[in-house]
């Protein structure tokens, strides 16, 4: 090889190595910052929900039914009556009851949802389909297994059924994404019935994807 070319390639390589040495720490800092922002957004979501609870504190207290595990063996769910200042708005009301459900019962062994999980968004479509978007902790920290995953979803649907009659079925998203299963077993590609008596016959059945 021509010595001039050799020198040129060597200089080029040195420049690339120097650029990488300068750029990598900057990239690392950016990734860290991004992770912090993401954490903040989950915390913000939780804060918003708590604020929404406070906002509704001037509402009269209503006896809400929340469903947690009946025993530490997860054999079934049991209704617990809690007095909450619930809003009349179905979306806000849903957020309030789900946030209280996530906060968990006094006995932590009876929780059905992981304590670190947060409800990021909740909305109700005109046909009565509710969409609940949970943080990734919902999928990562719920105990893996058919029994525990079904109980987690049942606690959500039965709590909504008892307190928000406008919700007819529920779609669960994880961090804004449609995922195949909750923690390896339970099907999240479709909707779960909430008020089965109210679901019109033409509606999409549970467990069957409505969008793909």
């Amino acid at each position: 090889m021509n010595p001039k070319w050799r020198l040129g390639i060597a200089i080029g390589l040195v420049v690339i190595v120097l650029a990488a040495a300068i750029y990598f720490p900057i990239l690392k800092r950016r990734v860290k910052r991004q992770a912090q922002v993401q954490q903040k957004s989950e915390e913000q979501a939780r804060l918003e929900l708590v604020q929404s609870l406070n906002a509704a504190s001037n509402e009269p207290k209503i006896k809400a039914k929340l469903f947690w595990a009946a025993d530490a063996q997860y054999s079934d769910l049991v209704a617990n009556t809690v007095e909450l200042p619930l809003s009349n708005d179905p979306v806000l009301r849903s957020k309030q009851v789900l946030n209280t459900l996530l906060a968990g019962p006094v006995d932590s062994e009876l929780r059905t949802l992981p304590p670190e999980a947060a409800l990021l968004a909740f909305y109700i479509l005109p046909d009565g389909t509710a969409v609940a978007d949970f943080s990734e902790a919902m999928a990562n920290s719920v105990p893996s297994g058919v029994q525990s995953e079904q109980l987690a979803v049942d606690s959500i649907t039965r709590t909504l059924e008892a307190n928000v009659p406008q919700v007819r079925r529920l779609r669960i998203l994880i961090h804004g994404q449609a995922v195949e299963t909750l923690a390896g077993h339970l099907d999240l590609t479709g909707t779960f019935p909430v008020s089965t008596k109210l679901v019109p016959p033409s509606s999409a059945p549970a467990g069957i994807p409505t969008t793909k």
Partner: protein, 294 residues
């Protein structure tokens, strides 16, 4: 029934069987020429009695016992006489595997490993009953949900048993799950939508689930009396009677406690499947819904 009476070549129909018997007799009759008259007479009477007995047993019980069932039905499981499928294939699905260990206990128990051990024991028991066994995985790999379903959906005369270990529940109990009620999908040209493949098979899945759960409840006190419902992703796309069997749990302190459960669980599954077998009635065309015209 002694295995001697089974047609080794799988010949079906009385006339075909008689022809086969005559063919067998020709060399024996030739041998008789060499015997003395008294022995020849005794041998001829014995041979005739044996042949008549064999033909009578064959025509009366065409599918008695698993071995007979496997010889009187073609390999695809379809019964030639009725046009309907007989249950002779069990697809065993050891859940998870590969990069997905499934549920994990604090003592290091991994669901993916336990279910593979359980599968081997169930396989052994079912094979001894004459069933053909297919496995969705036989090592530490993780086929997709659809690949696992596809294995069962491409068979005729098959059921699907998915094996799991939970992280919760009363230790030493076992639960069986089927999908909850699903509306029957519209069938186009006998085809079922993949996403709703299980819908047509739900009644049979529940029968299978009840049979297996009944056996498990007898052995493992505290287990539920009846099959449970759960929206299990694996079951939804399976076009066959399909159940999940879930043991409790990986939370056990000592793996040997869980290991001790496995033979009992395997035996209960085998007995449940054998009990269910006469209930299995479905058209012998893969992918068609039970009750639909073939």
């Amino acid at each position: 029934m002694p295995s001697f009476f089974h047609c080794p070549c799988g010949i079906a129909g009385p006339s075909a069987r008689i022809s086969f018997a005559i063919l067998l007799c020709v060399p024996l009759i030739n041998l008789m020429d060499l015997m003395n008259p008294l022995i020849r007479r005794i041998a001829a009477v014995s041979l005739a009695g044996l042949l008549l007995g064999a033909l009578a047993v064959h025509s009366q019980t065409p599918s008695a016992g698993p071995a007979a069932a496997s010889t009187t039905t073609p390999p695809n499981g379809q019964n030639a006489a009725t046009g309907r499928a007989a249950l002779n294939i069990v697809v065993l699905d050891p859940a998870h595997g590969g990069t997905d260990p499934g549920a994990r206990g604090s003592a290091g128990i991994r669901e993916a490993d336990i279910v593979l051990e359980l599968t081997a024991q169930v396989r052994h028991g079912l094979e001894s009953q004459g069933f053909q066994i297919l496995q969705t995985r036989s090592s530490n790999e993780n086929p997709s949900f659809d690949d696992r379903s596809a294995l069962a959906n491409s068979q005729t005369g098959a059921i699907f048993v998915s094996l799991h270990v939970s992280s919760t529940g009363l230790s030493g109990t076992v639960r069986v799950y089927t999908m909850p009620e699903m509306p029957l999908p519209p069938t186009t040209g006998g085809l079922i939508p993949w996403d709703q493949a299980q819908a047509s098979y739900l009644p049979l899945s529940r029968k299978l689930g009840d049979a297996v759960q009944g056996e498990l409840t007898q052995r493992f006190k505290g287990s539920p009396m009846n099959v449970q419902s759960a929206y299990v992703r694996q079951l939804r796309t399976t076009a066959a009677p399909a159940i999940v069997v879930e043991l409790s749990s990986v939370a056990m302190e000592d793996k040997t406690d869980l290991d001790r459960m496995l033979p009992g669980v395997a035996d209960a599954i085998v007995r449940g499947v054998v009990t269910f077998r006469p209930s299995y009635v479905t058209p012998g065309v893969p992918g068609t819904a039970p009750g639909a015209k073939p």
